[in-house]
């Protein structure tokens, strides 16, 4: 698949609360950007695979977030639901560069995020 990834600076890491998240508005939908206790960043589509709950409002623990609507636990690395639940939300490549959060954005195609 030839996708052009644009690495986009979205702001300093310190603007995201540790063990928390902030959102980024994208034409194809809101993105949740998470910061773990160890200052790693991950980005997911801000919608739980269960009932589209805003994952950005969940409690972040280890490399997972618990959805605020029905407590599904979503793996931040893969976007997969963990435990007995099944489902997956789209992941967006995220990395840190000199204390800034950078997202690897691709031209959004409907459905492409549900990988």
């Amino acid at each position: 698949m030839d996708q052009i990834i644009t690495w986009t600076d979205i702001g300093p890491l310190t603007d995201i609360p540790r063990q928390g998240a902030r959102t980024v508005e994208h034409p194809a939908g809101r993105i949740a950007v998470f910061r773990t206790i160890d200052d790693q960043v991950f980005a997911l589509r801000d919608a739980c695979p269960h009932k589209q709950g805003p994952l950005s409002e969940g409690i972040v623990h280890g490399q997972a977030v618990t959805c605020p609507l029905h407590n599904w636990v979503i793996d931040l690395v893969s976007g997969q639901a963990t435990g007995p639940d099944e489902g997956c939300t789209g992941t967006i490549p995220a990395r840190l560069e000199d204390g800034r959060v950078v997202l690897g954005l691709v031209p959004w195609r409907e459905g492409a995020a549900h990988g």
């Binding site: 959102t23 994208h26 773990t36 160890d38 790693q40 409690i59 623990h61 280890g62 605020p68």
Partner: protein
């Protein structure tokens, strides 16, 4: 300026090597060269500092007084002489002429070279806040800095160290041992965040505090204040810390100016290849000033590895080159054992193994990837640091012993390696291994007791040996010993752990938070030996509540451990919008409030207004970004948060009572209002609802509330432990009282008892069914003294929690500045 020079013994035939930098990297490279090819070059060294080569790592013992300068000298003047090296100390090189192949020093000295080695090291980063250039602001990089610090410390007083990294903390401890009152300001959330994870950083900060060094994290310096000398440091949040000395230790930056001005490729550092050659083949560089494969290093071990390559290269010998370093760190503060190596930040595909021994103050975490050690953080017991570092560098597959890896090398050497089962691992421990740190009980004592007395349960072992009778952290190990001794005959006891992050249940966690004066979530996780780095969505909110309940006014609420509703002070709805419920005291409202609600609903297009079961109005469908505006409007009309979203006091429902009702015997509306004024803003294990009925007809439905008041002719019947919901439970009659004051006291006492005794997320109904009504009566009906004490504790904690969370967020600034905004918008 010091010059050591010699007539060239073998004349002008030898190639000339000039070294810029008389520090650890440059001189180590020269030593390596001399080892391999003595006398090959005519060597000249320039140093900016007016002294011989010394061990910069030892600056902190120099500061603390544990060592003197002579102790830390690496090569004295005789060494330079003996090796025929010309040293220009205190005479920095100011320019490199690459075409003419010569360097020019500050004194005007010009020295030609055939090979040039740049080892200019790094300089301290100075944050450009106002006042950074005031006298009394120093850095911590060389002996001159230490001299300045010692001079300042001579007068006692206060010092502020900006930067809680390796260097900053060493400076802080050094100054403290010189008698100064020291505060460390650190921008990140925990100290040494580049070397330590949050748990170890927390333990370290605690230890420093115990030693009298104050640590403020999340501290953003705004200004260094003073007229002709430093007087104080002011933070962006307005805090001012007096200081007669300020040490800037926020980081280092490679010294590259000289190289850059000479046209050598420079990025963050001087760019070198694997053979430490710069973009000019005649020029090599080594140490903290270089950038190799994109990396700059600030630790000694990589410098030495580089120096080795430089030495071989200059000697004309074959070398594989430098392939980069995996680094490990130890903090050089006497009595504090901290070790970290590799990448411990986790990441995709990694797994954590965490070991905590609260009794000994030990925290160990290994990060594995594909069965190999990828990173390690050790606190309190660093004996196995070298072993883990070696496993890490060797990239050895350790999956066969992952469960016992944290027992250490000694255990592995004793035959434990390959033992994948932790029960077997416990069995393999020597008899003198301490199992219970609190009571000092060894394994042998326990196994002997099991055999001699035929013990079969954890409780029996506890009673007999006292092991695990205090903090209970070793219960798991004891179960392992029992299982090993009894084989299939042993059935583990059923303790319902709070969640899978811990073996402790709710009650023991609450008890230990008090008993061990644990005052933060990381402190609880360490002391109670949590099995995950930062808990989960079940235990973190519970711990946050238990800490709030145990230390009112002292514990600072941890937003990231709150469910979204309690973090944003609104109720999340199925579509991600929120509902807003302003408080209506006792269910009463007025035209001004109703107008404000109507206006705000119009202004923000709020789609649904609904009267709730708790006698107030719910505004549903508010967008997150509109919350502050909605709150500001409601605040302006005198309304505050109704806490309809919280595990907290919700509503006090009332009937119209004797104020209006022809049957009413008491003024239920005014009693309800005053009860709500007393109790609003309180956090409880679960939601807490009240009602006041003005007569036994009970129109306020007070007998299915957490606390219900039903007025009678002679006074008030007080009911507790009721709720509607999935499993309806009618209240129990607690007692009868005669005055309104008594009603208030019983309400306060009951809420406090519930708060102190019930488990998180346990409503009053199941709590009372679990502990029994008699328990509640014995604590607050029969015992008037205890009732008064409970009530007093309730009021005390209320004095810390009755502030309107909406008002604090209506104009988002300070810590709430980002709560309601998106981080960015992208196309």
């Amino acid at each position: 300026m010091t010059h050591i020079s010699h007539p060239s013994p073998s004349g002008a035939g030898r190639p000339r090597l000039v070294v810029i930098g008389n520090g650890m990297a440059g001189i180590r490279a020269v030593e390596d060269l001399l080892d391999r090819a003595p006398g090959l070059y005519d060597i000249t060294v320039f140093g900016a500092e007016p002294r011989v080569n010394y061990n910069r790592i030892m600056l902190s013992p120099l500061l603390s007084g544990e060592k003197s300068f002579t102790d830390i000298v690496l090569n004295d003047a005789d060494w330079y002489t003996a090796n025929g090296i010309t040293l220009h100390a205190g005479d920095p090189v100011v320019s490199i002429d690459r075409l003419g192949r010569k360097v020019l020093a500050q004194s005007g000295t010009e020295v030609p070279y055939d090979r040039l080695l740049i080892a200019t090291g790094s300089g301290p980063v100075i944050i450009p806040v106002p006042g950074h250039d005031l006298p009394g602001v120093v850095t911590f990089r060389d002996v001159d800095d230490v001299d300045k610090m010692l001079a300042a410390a001579g007068g006692g007083g206060s010092a502020v160290v900006i930067g809680g990294g390796l260097l900053g903390l060493e400076a802080a401890v050094g100054l403290q041992s010189q008698g100064m009152d020291v505060t460390v300001l650190h921008l990140a959330d925990h100290v040494m965040e580049r070397q330590l994870d949050a748990s170890a950083g927390h333990l370290l900060a605690e230890e420093l505090e115990r030693r009298g060094v104050r640590v403020i994290t999340g501290a953003d310096t705004a200004e260094i204040a003073g007229d002709d000398h430093v007087r104080a440091v002011r933070l962006k949040d307005g805090t001012e810390i007096p200081a007669s000395l300020v040490v800037m230790a926020v980081g280092i930056r490679p010294n590259t100016t000289l190289a850059a001005e000479a046209g050598i490729d420079v990025e963050r550092g001087i760019v070198v290849d694997d053979f430490m050659t710069t973009s000019d083949p005649a020029v090599l560089a080594v140490g903290e000033c270089v950038q190799h494969r994109g990396q700059c290093y600030g630790l000694v071990q990589p410098l030495f590895e580089m120096a080795k390559v430089v030495g071989a290269r200059l000697a004309g010998l074959e070398t594989d080159g430098y392939a980069g370093s995996v680094t490990s760190t130890k903090l050089k503060v006497t009595g504090v054992d901290v070790f970290s190596a590799g990448d411990f930040s986790g990441g995709p595909g990694t797994e954590d193994i965490v070991f905590r021994d609260a009794g000994r103050g030990v925290y160990k975490r290994l990060v594995l990837e594909d069965g190999r050690v990828k990173g390690a953080v050790l606190y309190g017991d660093t004996a196995d640091g070298a072993w883990y570092f070696q496993l890490l560098k060797a990239g050895e597959d350790v999956s066969d012993r992952r469960d016992t890896l944290l027992f250490g090398q000694a255990f592995a050497a004793a035959g434990g390696a390959g033992t994948a089962n932790p029960t077997d691992a416990v069995a393999a421990l020597p008899d003198d291994a301490e199992i219970c740190g609190c009571n000092g009980v060894c394994k042998g004592t326990i196994t002997k007791a099991i055999a001699e007395h035929g013990l079969t349960t954890l409780e029996e072992v506890k009673a007999r040996t006292k092991a695990s009778a205090s903090c209970g952290s070793c219960a798991g190990l004891m179960e392992g010993l029992l299982a090993h001794a009894l084989g299939d005959g042993y059935e583990a006891s059923e303790v319902k752990a709070l969640c899978t992050c811990t073996d402790h249940d709710h009650d023991s966690i609450r008890r230990l938070i008090k008993a061990k004066t644990l005052k933060s979530i990381p402190a609880v996780m360490q002391a109670l030996e949590w099995k995950t780095p930062d808990g989960c969505a079940s235990c973190r909110p519970a711990l946050n509540f238990y800490l709030l309940a145990a230390w009112p006014g002292e514990y600072v609420d941890h937003a990231a451990s709150r469910f979204v509703n309690e973090r944003l002070h609104a109720n999340i709805q199925k579509d991600g919008t929120y509902s807003v419920v302003p408080r209506m005291w006792g269910g009463l409202t007025n035209p001004r409030e109703l107008r404000a609600i109507a206006d705000v609903a119009d202004k923000y297009d709020i789609p649904t207004l609904k009267v709730t079961g708790g006698q107030r109005i719910d505004l549903l469908g508010v967008k997150k970004e509109d919350l502050p505006g909605v709150w500001a409007a409601l605040n302006a009309a005198g309304m505050v948060s109704g806490h309809a979203y919280g595990k907290s006091l919700r509503t006090v429902k009332t009937c119209v009572g004797s104020e209006w009702c022809r049957f009413g015997t008491q003024a239920s509306m005014s009693i309800g209002m005053s009860l709500e004024r007393m109790t609003w803003g309180s956090w409880t294990p679960h939601k807490f609802k009240m009602a006041v009925s003005g007569c036994p007809r009970n129109c306020a439905e007070a007998t299915i509330k957490d606390f219900g008041v039903v007025a009678t002719d002679g006074g008030f019947d007080l009911y507790v432990g009721g709720n509607g919901g999935m499993k309806v439970r009618a209240c129990d009659l607690l007692c009868k009282v005669t005055t309104e004051d008594e009603v208030h006291e019983y309400v306060g006492a009951f809420m406090q008892l519930y708060r102190e005794e019930a488990r998180y997320l346990e409503r009053t109904a199941p709590w009372i069914e679990r502990v029994g009504l008699d328990f509640v009566r014995s604590r607050m009906v029969d015992d008037a003294g205890n009732r008064a004490a409970l009530h007093a504790r309730f009021l005390d904690s209320q004095s810390h929690s009755q502030s309107d969370p909406w008002a604090e967020r209506a104009t988002p600034c300070g810590q709430h500045a980002n709560d309601f905004k998106t981080l960015a918008s992208v196309e």
